[in-house]
Symmetry: C2
Amino acid sequence: MAKAYERIADDLRQSIRAGELAPGDRLPSEAKLAERYRRSVPTVRDALRLLQAEGLIDKEHGRGNFVRRPRTLVQRSNLRHQWEKDRVREPEEKRAETGATEHDTGLELPDLVFHAAYREIPADKELAEAFGVAEGTTLLERTYRTRYRAESAPFTLVTSYLVRDMVAANPALLDAANEPWPGGTQNQLFTVGIEFGRIEERVTARPPTAEEAEELELPPGTAVLVLRKTSIDIDDRPVEISDVVLPGDRTEMLFTTPLERW
Amino acid sequence: MAKAYERIADDLRQSIRAGELAPGDRLPSEAKLAERYRRSVPTVRDALRLLQAEGLIDKEHGRGNFVRRPRTLVQRSNLRHQWEKDRVREPEEKRAETGATEHDTGLELPDLVFHAAYREIPADKELAEAFGVAEGTTLLERTYRTRYRAESAPFTLVTSYLVRDMVAANPALLDAANEPWPGGTQNQLFTVGIEFGRIEERVTARPPTAEEAEELELPPGTAVLVLRKTSIDIDDRPVEISDVVLPGDRTEMLFTTPLERW
DNA sequence: GAGGAGAACTCCTCTTTATGAGTTGCGTTG
DNA sequence: CAACGCAACTCATAAAGAGGAGTTCTCCTC
């Protein structure tokens, strides 16, 4: 005795997977579906809500329900960490030439940064532990959104943390007006004598919060990738921690792990 | 003029985030909430469904609605690729000694494998491209689920592909009865002279399909991490492709990228 | 004291009905 | 022929209510 709305959902899902309903197609109206399955309209709506939560359909008020088209992926590769490190020591003119978007490497980098905010905060327990400092140590917190030139919607939400005392040697970094940092964070940390040794990235996934869904303009039925990136210098000290939220339906993260030869 | 069910959801969400409702707490019954907010029960249910989709609450039939407790994460690290490669050439007794779970490295590996299936299939366009072979080339497809000893629910769904002709030199690998492969895939490929050169992992996130939700015993309001792992040998040939589905609320993937010293 | 019946409480599915609001297209009007 | 306006279609929100089913607790019986 499967539930009515589940049976309807199953049936429609199968039609979509089998390609009878192609991406972009409009489904029959809710009233028509109710008639076809001999159920009430609210029951049909329950089924459609299920499909929406799975990311299979888009509901458009006044127009209909449509099979969702897959969105194109933007790739984010860990090879770029090395590329960014190499770039730090290139002459400034050359950096300006390649700009924030690099073509040679095939790596796309975000080229628009919005709404940078800048604060000093005391480290909470979790961040203190991650940095290996005492709770309450003053941190710099920067938050911003990035967007790709070709994209209409924002692409990442970033919150970045630094230990204030570690960067204080370069007063420009304490100036909120200096956002975003020219040449990138790694470049600016280089000015205070910090060389990056490795990057650790921790990835999980979950449904977006209501705020994230709004800021990233996520349709219902999408997930977010949550990335905590810890940059560690050659003395094994964590120097920057970034929490990044990425739209799961538009992001592909590529991690390449080289293995030692025998 | 915010909608009624959204206002109710916002209010409850805030109570949860502020800690007035702690993880594990039971929310007031739907009837009570309806009374408190002066709305009908179905409207309250709409609000609760929203919170459930965000993963904030669990609905338990006959018992009530509860603030969800965060689940503990299992870490999956790319350091393990190197460790597995090193292990390939260790004497067999030593491998058996450490078993599938490794303690020294701090890396947890799944130690129970369920329901392995084994097929030969022709490569579709996408897989042919990924392997760099002609469409229709015969592939070996293996699918299985893994589970951790301490965990009640399955932990991964894996589909793994190999080009048949590349492994045919070891007839044991063509035998479906030989599942799972002793010592792991990398170990078995070593027997046909394949040495891994690097691992590429592509990660995206999305809501689970209905089947995945069931197989992984995922509560509503969770996402899955989708991982495509491509193992490439020292001659730059892709030798194994694995599609892995992981529960987003229980998985943390750790990728460490070492940077070259100056 | 143990066991079982049942009440009381919970959420679940489905129906019917009403009103609202966004979109599209057509037909009238100027 | 263009522009406007309205009708018809779409989905959205909300209500009230009936019947169902899972859980818990109490109280009665033995």
